[in-house]
Amino acid sequence: MRFASTEPMSLALPSSSDRSRWPAPRWPGRVTAADGYRLAGRALPGCRLAALVFTLAGLAVCLLLVPGDARHGDAARIAFVHWPAAATSVVIYLLVVGWAVAGQRSEGRLAALMARALAPTGALMAFVALWTGSLWGKPGWGVWWQWTPRLSTEMALFVQYVAIMVMQASIDDPRRGDRAGARLAAAGLFLLPMVYVSVAWWPARHAELAVDLPAAPAFVGLLLMTAACGAWALAATLHRLRSLILECEQGAEWLSQLPEARA
C-alpha cells in the first residue's frame, strides 16, 4: 500500500459503481456488489420456501413416521436434528474457507463478504450440533459430554468459528479483516477431516455407526432434515450478505437507485 504524504489515508475501497477507479478485472464479467445484491435478493424467497417445506416434511417424517430405535428408543430422533446440523456446520466451514480464499484473490469484496456472511450461520449450526449431541448423550450413553475425538473436534470447530468472527469484528480495516479471517479460516481447515474420520480412527462412544433405524423412512427423514438445514443456512447467509453489501457499499451511487432507499 502506498500512502500519499499529504492526503488523509482512506480505508474505504472505491465503490463498485466507481469503475474508473477499480483495477481492471482479471476475468470478464466480474460480478459486482450490485449484481450480488440483486442475485441474492432473487434467490431468497425460493430458499426460504424450500427451508419451510423441507422442515415441515422432515419433522412430519422423523416425529410421526419413523419408529423408535432398537437401542436408544425415541431419544434417537434427536439424530434428525443433530446430524444435519453437524454436517451443515462442516460444509459451511469449507465454504467459508473457499470464499475467503477467493476473496483474497479478487479485487472486489463480494467473495470476502460471502465468507463473512457464512460464518455466523456455521457457528450456530455447530452450536446446535453440540447441544443436541449432548442431549442425546445423556439418555443414550449416560453422559452429557466426553472428550472423545469427534466431540472435541466439533467443539474446536465451534470455537474456530467464533474466533474468526471475533477476529473480523475487531479489525476496522475491511481488507485487513478479510485477510486475517481468510488466514485463520485456512489454518483451521485441518479440523474438517478430523471431525469426519475421528470416529473411524478412534472408535469411541459415538453414534453414527450404531443407530439401528429401519432404512426407508429414517433415510428419507434424514435427507429432508438435511435439505431443510441447508436451505435455511443458504437463506440466512444470503440475507446477511445483502445487509453486509448495504453496509459495505455506503455512499455508492447504485444504492440510491434501490427501492429500499426511498422511504
Partner: protein, 61 residues
C-alpha cells in the same frame, strides 16, 4: 403413525425432555438468527434511507 395418543407423543418413551429440548433449541437458534438478521437489515436499510435523503437534499440545493 407411531403414537397412540398425544401424551405418548410428548413423552417420547420417557426421553421427552431430551428430544423436545433438542428440537426446541434448534427452533430457538433458527428464530434467534432470523431476528438478528431482520435487525441487521433494518439498521442497514435505515442508514441507506438516511444517506439517500441526504444526497437528495444536497442535490436540490
Amino acid at each position: 403413525m407411531n403414537w397412540r395418543s398425544f401424551g405418548e407423543f410428548l413423552a417420547m418413551g420417557g426421553d421427552g425432555l431430551y428430544v423436545w429440548g433438542s428440537f426446541a433449541m434448534a427452533a430457538a437458534a433458527v428464530a434467534w438468527e432470523a431476528l438478528m438478521l431482520a435487525q441487521r437489515r433494518h439498521h442497514a436499510v435505515e442508514a441507506l434511507r438516511d444517506q439517500a435523503a441526504l444526497l437528495r437534499s444536497s442535490a436540490r440545493r
